[in-house]
Symmetry: C2
Subunit: 202 residues, 2 copies
């Protein structure tokens, strides 16, 4: 039982993932993956985290020849190193035991394990409210005092970066229903309800 | 409790709807809606059914000014009559009792009732297999002896017509996750499993 959760920023995917893992009594992987990649690649944790939330190669458009990019872009090799590590680590985690993995292209990387592929999303208004509520503890939001406009821009930017990263390495469209088994809109559904819906598929 | 089910052709949305209504012991509306519209508009059942599966106005692109279309297109008024009837009937049905409604822009028309909005879909291969299995009884498929290529083309055509009809009258994008609470991919999930997932939200 491998469950992968893709999620729009602020939609509650991480909370859903944690609660799923708790309820099922299986492993939960999120920031642990970053730590492992950092160890395996001799890069700093912060650098790995930054790259994984951004487009891998800022100078070349999505779909551009990897060989061409590699020869011109000094960041390309490092990005590739991180993705290679990420692939290796996710496969090790999945082979080790049942687990819930949030983000990290896990649905694609672990496709041979036939994971249950969940995507969680919500309208901007709902996600802003959620971000406000958790801003004291969230890594991407703490110590910031954003206006509504700035917060909306930040949410849109994080999603754009996730979308690019996902597309670059998987060739798939992030959040496109074709690539998931179940999509849940957390705007009108409570987290308890979403949890029950996913558990019904397990 | 109003549940609306949008569905790609051949994905099993109708079966899910029927089983949901049975399990919950609530009304199920599908072809009954066509009958009621036919009665209320003095149009034949067949004509109403045909219009509701097609783009309302074949001569004007989606988004084209309705006023302009109305003055040039002889079909436009009839299409509009049908949609007006459809709106009236769906609202009456929703006000009368809890129910499951498949298709018919019900998610949009009944938005003030805050329905649970489900969308069911699957890859083409899965939908073709499903169509083959039910071709003896399905209204859109019976008495046809289609090659794989013809069947795939037919499925794509029906979906395109549904998508246009939906967009024309709702201004929304058919199947876009933003307009639903839950999307289910029936390619890898059994109908029993999908049923359980939706019931978890009720």
């Amino acid at each position: 039982m491998i469950i992968t959760i893709g999620r729009e920023f602020g939609s509650g995917g991480r909370e859903l993932g944690r609660r799923l893992a708790d309820t099922l009594g299986i492993a939960y992987y999120d920031s642990e993956i970053v730590e492992e990649i950092a160890k395996g690649s001799n890069l700093s944790r912060d650098y790995v985290a930054r790259v994984m939330e951004k487009r891998p190669s800022p100078f070349f458009p999505v779909g551009h020849s990897a060989a061409f990019a590699a020869s011109y872009d000094p960041h390309f090799q490092l990005n590739n190193t991180i993705y290679t590590q990420q692939t290796k680590i996710l496969k090790e985690m999945a082979a080790r035991s049942d687990c819930v993995i949030v983000g990290r292209c896990a649905d694609y990387i672990l496709r041979d394990f036939h994971p249950l592929r969940v995507f969680v999303y919500a309208g901007m208004e709902h996600r802003m409210a959620r971000c406000r509520a958790r801003s004291a503890t969230d890594e991407l939001l703490k110590n910031e005092n954003l206006s509504d406009r700035e917060l909306a821009a930040k949410i849109a930017r994080v999603d754009k970066e996730r979308s690019r990263y996902y597309r670059f390495f998987t060739g798939q469209v992030w959040g496109d229903r074709a690539y998931y088994d179940l999509l849940l809109n957390t705007a009108d559904l409570s987290m308890d309800t979403c949890l029950k819906a996913v558990l019904a598929l397990c």
